[in-house]
């Protein structure tokens, strides 16, 4: 397994789906990616008043346990996430950092009273994961609605975009990966999760 990105399931998450998402990341980002061992539901981040989980707290937790030599440490959870100022978030990343967390809660069609659709859910998770990885590499939101870096404030935004970077964001992403690899020297090495 190549070093690069680690996907960390937080609570019960379909690991088969996460494996497929890891392959997608490897293909699109040219970095190694693997799924690590599952961690517990983040009760430490639960907010009773909001009945949601504080993504900032989870992110801080991930930063604390992130291996030193990874490009990205991506937590994936089924719980609903928020940041104090917003009602919800699909995901949260340290801009130009190493940790990010995404929630599958609002990516499920059932959340919007639709029939369950695992393919659609997987497609949405792929997009959200790539999006947060882009932020880890310092990419900001893109104006191209089809680019994975387009800001998703509603689920429709996620569905409109493709699970890939536009040419400009792709170029930027590759350049940032190369810069990180030059600095940290872990592209293609083993992930130690």
């Amino acid at each position: 397994m190549a070093k690069g990105v680690i996907i960390c399931p937080i609570g019960p998450v379909d690991e088969g789906m996460l494996d497929r998402i890891a392959r997608h990341i490897e293909m699109r980002c040219s970095v190694a990616c693997r799924v690590s061992a599952k961690t517990d539901i983040p009760e430490y981040a639960y907010d009773e008043r909001r009945c949601q989980y504080n993504s900032t707290t989870i992110l801080k937790h991930l930063i604390g346990c992130c291996p030193d030599d990874v490009l990205g440490y991506l937590g994936v959870t089924h719980v609903d996430l928020f940041v104090p100022i917003l009602k919800y978030v699909f995901g949260l990343a340290e801009m130009e950092g190493r940790c990010a967390v995404i929630s599958m809660c609002r990516l499920r069609p059932e959340f919007y009273d639709r029939s369950p659709d695992l393919n659609l859910l997987e497609e949405r998770v792929k997009k959200t994961a790539l999006h947060e990885l882009g932020h880890l590499l310092g990419l900001t939101h893109c104006k191209n609605r089809r680019c994975v870096m387009y800001s998703s404030v509603r689920i429709e935004d996620t569905d409109i975009k493709r699970a890939d970077f536009c040419p400009t964001c792709s170029e930027l992403f590759t350049w940032r990966v190369d810069t990180c690899v030059t600095v940290h020297g872990f592209k293609g090495s083993e992930v130690q999760g």
Partner: protein, 449 residues
């Protein structure tokens, strides 16, 4: 790509600040964080922020007080208030105090995005509006002449058509309407613009002096001619000669002028040598030349020589639409000269300016604005700063006696002429000595004396 707007987040709660910071940074905004109202005001003093997200409920300086201070420091910054449900009413109050809108915490992610984009669009529209207004103002200005009235727009149109030609131009209009500015604009927009523009105030000089001024003289040509002097025609060679107050020129000088215009040659007084001159003539007068021709005071042939293109400058009372524009321009000009902060013409003063009939035209308006700025000290010109504010402007309150009428009229003409005695005497059609006598008789003194 336009520069990303700077957003200042003001909230006493660190998690709120930080989560908003992370969220906004993902959009590429440059974000600043302030934990209190005072810190926000300090940061606003140091750096301009296009958008300020301001929490309503903060200890110490609360949101409303901070909003007031921020608007003083950065009036251009748009403020989005952030509030909890319980304080929506206060948020509405904040909007009445100049906040752009408010957001109820926690926000829907797309709500923040929409609001910020709305502000950016709004700011772009404001900027576009300023640029369009500036462009419009440019159309209201031709060099130094200002006017948006139809009459002045026609004058501008005529200037731009006439300027590139070499045609002789006759500019007519009342005293103070800006005839010389029009002559300068014609010269400035002609192919002669890099050559001299020579102005001669024909009415101000006695006949003999005017002759030597126009044509020059050789040393010893007459008693007192101690050295050779170039005439204005020579000086204006390849340029433009502006003959102001042409209607006041004697019949003898009219003949000399006609000769030069026909032959394009001049001869200095006391010289045998004839010099060719290439001069564009622009003449101006406030006299009725048609009447002067009838009364045999002006040569008809000279009139037709001069009147190839005729530009009639309307008096200010016939283009009152231009008064606010002109007043603003003069305020700007004199504030700059006097090193004053921005001053505005107040509504009461503007009302008076619009009601007055401006016998001295634009020059009188300029003098009155200059005077008001000297007298007034505030950042607004009020009716009290205007010289006619305490005088009666309506016909029903005019002085009834002929003597008082004369006194008021002389005062007005003097004001319009900027207390230039020669100019005022000319406008009154009397000689300087007579004017001095009347000043003494009526005890007329300049306001600031």
């Amino acid at each position: 790509m336009p520069k990303m707007p700077r957003i200042l987040v003001v909230d006493d709660e660190q998690p709120m600040r930080e989560s908003l910071n992370d969220w906004l940074k993902e959009d590429g905004y440059r974000v600043g964080l302030a934990a209190s109202g005072q810190e926000a005001v300090d940061m606003a003093r140091k750096e301009p922020w296009e958008v300020i997200l301001l929490d309503l409920k903060m200890p110490g300086m609360d949101g409303l007080k901070t909003l007031k201070k921020l608007k003083e420091v950065r009036p251009d910054a748009e403020v989005l208030m952030m509030t909890a449900y319980a304080t929506v009413e206060t948020a509405v109050q904040a909007m009445k105090q100049g906040a752009f809108d408010y957001l109820v915490k926690p926000f829907d992610p797309d709500e923040v995005e929409v609001q910020i984009k709305k502000i950016i669009t709004h700011k772009e529209l404001v900027l576009e509006n300023i640029l369009l207004r500036r462009r419009l103002e440019e159309t209201y200005q031709f060099d130094e002449i200002i006017g948006k009235s139809d009459a002045m727009q026609e004058v501008f149109e005529l200037i731009s058509r006439v300027a590139p030609t070499d045609s002789t131009v006759l500019i007519t209009g009342e005293s103070g309407t800006g005839k010389e500015l029009i002559a300068r604009a014609i010269h400035g927009n002609s192919s002669r613009c890099f050559m001299p523009f020579i102005a001669v105030s024909c009415g101000a000089l006695p006949d003999s002096l005017l002759e030597s001024e126009l044509f020059g003289y050789e040393k010893g040509a007459f008693t007192g001619a101690e050295h050779t002097k170039k005439g204005r025609f020579e000086m204006a060679h390849r340029g433009t000669l502006f003959l102001d107050e042409i209607g006041d020129v004697s019949l003898k000088t009219q003949v000399d002028l006609l000769r030069v215009l026909q032959q394009k040659e001049v001869q200095r007084l006391g010289s045998e040598k004839v010099m060719e001159v290439d001069v564009r003539i622009i003449a101006a007068t406030n006299r009725d030349l048609a009447k002067a021709i009838q009364e045999k005071r002006f040569r008809e042939d000279l009139y037709y020589r001069l009147n190839v293109i005729h530009i009639e400058v309307p008096p200010l009372r016939e283009r009152k639409d231009d008064i606010p524009l002109l007043a603003d321009e003069f305020v700007r000009k004199y504030c700059l000269e006097m090193n004053r902060e921005e001053v505005k013409v107040g509504p009461s003063a503007m009302k008076q300016l619009m009601a007055y009939d401006w016998p001295g035209n634009v020059r009188e308006l300029e003098n009155i604005i200059e005077r008001a700025l000297v007298i007034g000290r505030g950042n607004e010109i009020s009716a009290d700063d205007l010289p006619f504010s305490r005088k009666e402007t309506g016909p029903e309150t005019f002085p009834k006696s002929l003597k008082m009428m004369e006194k008021v009229h002389i005062e007005r003409v003097l004001e319009a002429a900027g207390w230039n005695i020669s100019r005022a005497a000319r406008d009154l059609d009397i000689d300087r000595q007579t004017l001095y006598n009347k000043l003494e008789k009526y005890d007329i003194r300049r306001g600031d004396e």
